[in-house]
Amino acid sequence: MEINADSSAGVAPTHQAEPLNYLNHKKGIASWLFTVDHKRIGLMYLALIGVALFLGGVFALAVRTHLLRPSDKMLTPEQYAQMFTLHGVIMIFLVIIPGIPAVLGNFVVPLMLGAKDVAFPKLNLFSWYLFATGVVMALVTLFTGGLDTGWTLYTPYSSTSFSNVSLVGTAAFIMGFSSILTGLNMMVTIQTMRPKGMTIFRMPLFLWAAYATGIIQIIGTPVLAITLLLLLMERFFRVGIFDPAMGGDAVLFQHFFWFYSHPAVYIMVVPAFGVMSELITVHTRKTIFGYKAIAYSSVAIAILSVIVWGHHLFVSGQTMRTSVIFSIITFAVAVPSAIKVFNWMATLYKGSIALTTPMLFALSFLFTFGIGGLTGLFCGALAIDVHVHDTYFVVAHFHYTMIGVVMVMLGGFYHWWPKITGKMYHERLGQLSAVLVFIGMQMTFLPQFIMGSLGMPRRYYWYPDEFSMHHHISTGGSYILAAGFALVAFNLIWAIFNGKKAPANPWGGATMEWYTQSPPLPHNFDSAPEAGDPYDYTKVHWDNEKKEFISPYVQ
């Protein structure tokens, strides 16, 4: 909500001087709550996600602070279980899944297409309301019994737990529909609303990623919906599908759950890949290396992602043959992921690398995601997984991938912030925030790899003394990480009030969102621009008198 208030209040005094844009053309809270403008809806998502990120972060710090000296009993075991569960649920369902697709996807996709809006603007607003309802329900849970099952909601504990699984289940169910409808909207928009000249191989790679994400959302999320519905039925009527006491099959729940939740990992990562492709090329001012390979690998990941869920069940009583097949397919997913990483590295080669804040976040991602991806192969290998399953090794592995995604998300916010708000952020502070996030991240999770491989199980309230050094370093790192996030938030909000006015094309990008003014017109473009090569930087010129980049097709 901060964003809403800021933009209308901050813009008002300079109204005469400033040209008409999507932020100042209508005022008042109602003009936001009933808007069908994709740009405003994107910002409304950002407001909710910002609140959720703060809460999820506080819970994580509570867990880490408790683990600094568990003998102090800062949290009771019940509270501890609640904290890590709520941290997981909030970060996954309220922050990372909607983060890039709903905020940047909404804001950037139609602009990159030179379109006036997404294909279904009202549906888009409806999706936001669904999401907001889910967020409110999740927050209500905090005060009505909480949740102590772990974010995975495994049965039979979740079907009998006295914590408020029902409300969280309903919240996730509703947010699932928000996710489905957003994915559907993006797919239809990209498929049917491309401008003249934009063939599928001239689409910016972020659009490929948004499309691939839509595919995964549409395949995976309905299965989550039915799983949660069955879980709710199990709690209310004990229907006997998942609860062994009633004749059900608890492992069936794990299959159902991971059929969604593993692809969900790629719902989070694939859009980040898309943002990466944009950040890397724009900030090296070099055309992307291996366009088609990156584009196709997004789709390959989307398809492979829905057939690897069984690697979460290696120790759940799956037959060995099934496990071997899932293990092999899991290794196969590494191929398209590696293709992307190598292509980005090749893009950097002999590029003119500018160490701007978005670029620092992108480079952090390359390093962090590299480790996260490679340790994923450890977990996908059958024998090693038996050893590392449910240890801190797994925790470190997925935080390396997920915080990698968050890094790209923050890099993306910095990158498009001049377009979104019309103001420049503070570059030095931005670079400092990127460095803090990077150092904090490594310090928090590298020790977790080590203690995990030494056998420290995840989710434990207590640990033997031999792990205290690892835990202390990890907790110290988490404070640095938190400081980094706080600095990002401060910098972005500071920019709204005190930032320099942003030019239309601050980075010299060649995709179409930079063709319109910053912030964009209410309807984006006066007339539809014609698309060319989105990565041809020779057509963007530096004007030495105006001290800014001139796009080939200025509105």
Binding site: F120, T192, I219, P222, F237, V239, G240, M246, F256
Partner: protein, 258 residues
Amino acid sequence: MSDSHAHHDPHLAHHFDSHKQQFTAQKLGMWLFLATEVLMFGGLFVAYSVFRYNHPQMFHEGHKHLNWILGATNTVILLFSSFTMAMAVRCAQLGNNKAVIRFLAVTFACALGFMCIKYVEYSEKIAHGHLLGNLYDFEHKSEGAEGEGHSAVTHESTEDASRKSTESKPEAETQEEAAARIEGEKNQHVFFSLYFMMTGLHGIHVLVGMAIMIWLFLRARKNEFTPTHFAAVDLSGLYWHIVDIVWIFLFPLFYLIS
């Protein structure tokens, strides 16, 4: 500028360039939505398959409590309603709003008939205590009310089960068959959980379809559908066919097992 032009045409949203683009987008959106519907029902069908594979006897015993004549009647009704819905779409494409109203009315009547028959079936199940999960009549309280041979039994009262089953079919079956049947009579509440959840979710979709038909009906009365502007009827038709197709699978899977 296409913007000012768009304001002359109330049927073309401002962010689309042409009717063709708008229609393509709407149609693609609907197909993607239907894909999610299929996947959502797909989860239930997978659950069905897993339990059917692991406990075939449970399904065999359970289906005896379902009335296949009512099920078959409902199948015919829904198939016919799909035909009338297709005719409504055709008439909307031709801009014949009067005929759209007529065909929608018939389709609506079919949907209503379907729900009435479902009501009769559900009432019968409820009267006999054949309900889902812990609502299932484990104690056979409603046993006396009707003359069913062997009502279902849970694992909690297996002794009771063997006694009852020997009473109902004393000499016709071998020991093996009896064992299989007792096995099947266990966990009958799971069969009815699946039955109620799958037909229930389908029933909710029928109700939604009926609401959509009322909306289309009101729009057709205002003569809103023209040969260039019939997407609402067309896409609702697609939805209705999916509702029909789901039933086509539900009917044999529950009523026609043997």
